[in-house]
Symmetry: C2
Subunit: 312 residues, 2 copies
């Protein structure tokens, strides 16, 4: 079930790591990088959304701009960082109306404002429609949460709920009414939750779910060299998932496991330190346990399946 | 003499500033942004090079990657910052061979290494060929040099020499031998010079010459609300300028004033503090003086012309 695009991305990511030097701090391979500086670690990441791939039917330019900011802010959130500022690099089709460009930037600024940060600069060139957003943040003395670090016996948990971005997408595609498109059009990164999780001291790994639960679980398992048992019945179901399932027959696991666009945090924590999580007043659901296995598994009442592709 | 592209860029830059909030520290409008943090100011910038616009005949993918890094590192140099790390966001044509992608990244890494820094992360999407490089740096306690701050009576100076990137370009276009293309293909940002200039305490404004001397002078004059008198005879002539002029008739001012790609620093300094510049052992040429006027002027033996477009 690996797409050509995914194969290309995985191969090129590995290939790129082979041609660049490994930096001090933390380089490619996690949600954000950790850049050492005299004033403390700087957390930084960049991600691009493109007109071709991240611009679903019904999305406005403001929402594309919001999403570009949200995607990168979410990569800071996964480390537990506080956003300090954003930079935007746009490549825009020459025939794009300048008001659409301003709408993109206004949407990006609105998302920055929602997380108490700002756009600090950028660059605009002609191209075929991409918005790259760099997010810069600070741990303010806390330790960044990484994908590696999960240990067998740790609890697996997720913030918020799963599948509402996918449900919003299918509702538009299939003309189903009564399903909110908010998660799809203006995703909300879990900044406060990331800060609380990293403050708790009990979290052993964390990732954001931009690429879906299966892919997120696979990344943590691969980086931590562990497996996971996740239980379908434990998964918190997002708005609209049930409606899209019953009206259009889209499988719930396709929306909740294999679809991206939910900017929730997937994390593991030391079960002996679970009290510290409750102390930090974080809204999360326990969905499984870390195992000695070599892949994340999804458990149903009557079966157990590898979730997506194993990491081995 | 303003191109449509320039008009569009200027209009959109102004338009963007109208729709985003002004951040604390220093936002859009200088070579880099200054992002306040608990650990001290973070200097950051992003710039993109595209296959369509920054990929002259004869350039290799490694050189495009080098250039992408150099352009952003140069924006740090103009502030006087030390590079701490780079991030790369690539949008690549689906038919691009992955080895070309690795060449781009290897070139970017080689430039990072030349300035004692690293690539910390990135993102690759399908698109039509753009490399956006974010550079993050630190002032290490020094004050950043801005475009504003030039005062009438200050001396105008430039590092290195002018026109060699343009000469390299025309030599390839017009098949002229004996002209080095080094400045064009692997530009060298003036990081050590920027650090020394910001350490001196005598510099009142600074900008890099990525867009040419005329445009750089216009930017400083506009931001500082001053004019400049620059003398053609004082300009340090880059390698190949004379050859291209004599063999192909390209005017020297077109190469030295109106062409981009020279990653030198243009700066102004308080003439009473000039000794501090000599103490810092910086290789520079004095090219003029800051005036009360409303534009930068270029002076010849027998005439005086507005250089490019005034800022008023």
């Amino acid at each position: 079930m690996v797409s050509l695009k995914e194969l290309w991305e995985r191969e090129t990511i590995d290939g790129i790591r082979n041609v660049i030097r490994k930096p001090p701090g933390l380089g490619p391979g996690d949600d954000s990088a950790v850049i050492p500086s005299l004033g403390g670690d700087i957390i930084a990441c960049v991600d691009s959304v493109t007109f071709a791939r991240h611009f679903p039917k019904g999305m406005k330019y403001e929402e594309l701009g919001w999403t570009a900011a949200a995607v990168s802010i979410s990569d800071l959130a996964a480390m537990g960082a506080v956003p300090l500022g954003l930079l935007a690099a746009l490549t825009m089709p020459p025939d794009l109306d300048s008001s659409s460009l301003y709408d993109i930037m206004a949407g990006m600024d609105a998302c920055a404002e929602a997380f108490d940060t700002y756009i600090y600069g950028g660059d605009t060139k002609f191209g075929c429609g991409a918005v790259s957003c760099t997010a810069i943040g600070s741990m303010e003395g806390r330790k960044p949460m990484l994908r590696s670090g999960a240990k067998p016996g740790d609890i697996v948990a997720v913030t918020g709920s799963l599948g509402s971005a996918a449900a919003g997408f299918f509702a538009i595609e299939k003309n189903i009414s009564g399903v909110p498109a908010t998660s799809l059009m203006t995703p909300v990164p879990r900044v406060a939750e990331g800060i609380a999780l990293s403050s708790s001291g009990g979290v052993t790994s964390c990732i954001d779910l931009s690429d879906g639960l299966a892919e997120g679980a696979r990344s943590i398992c691969g980086a931590s060299r562990v497996g996971m048992d996740i239980h379908m019945d434990f998964l918190p179901e997002g708005d609209g998932v049930d409606t899209v399932f019953s009206k259009a027959g889209v499988r719930k696991e396709d929306m909740m496991l294999y679809w991206g666009g939910d900017y929730e945090l997937l994390f593991t924590f030391d079960k002996d330190k679970r009290e510290t999580l409750y102390d930090h007043d974080i809204d999360f659901s326990i969905i499984g346990i870390v195992t000695n296995d070599h892949a994340p598994y999804i458990n149903y009442e009557d079966k157990r399946e590898v979730m997506g592709n194993g990491w081995y």
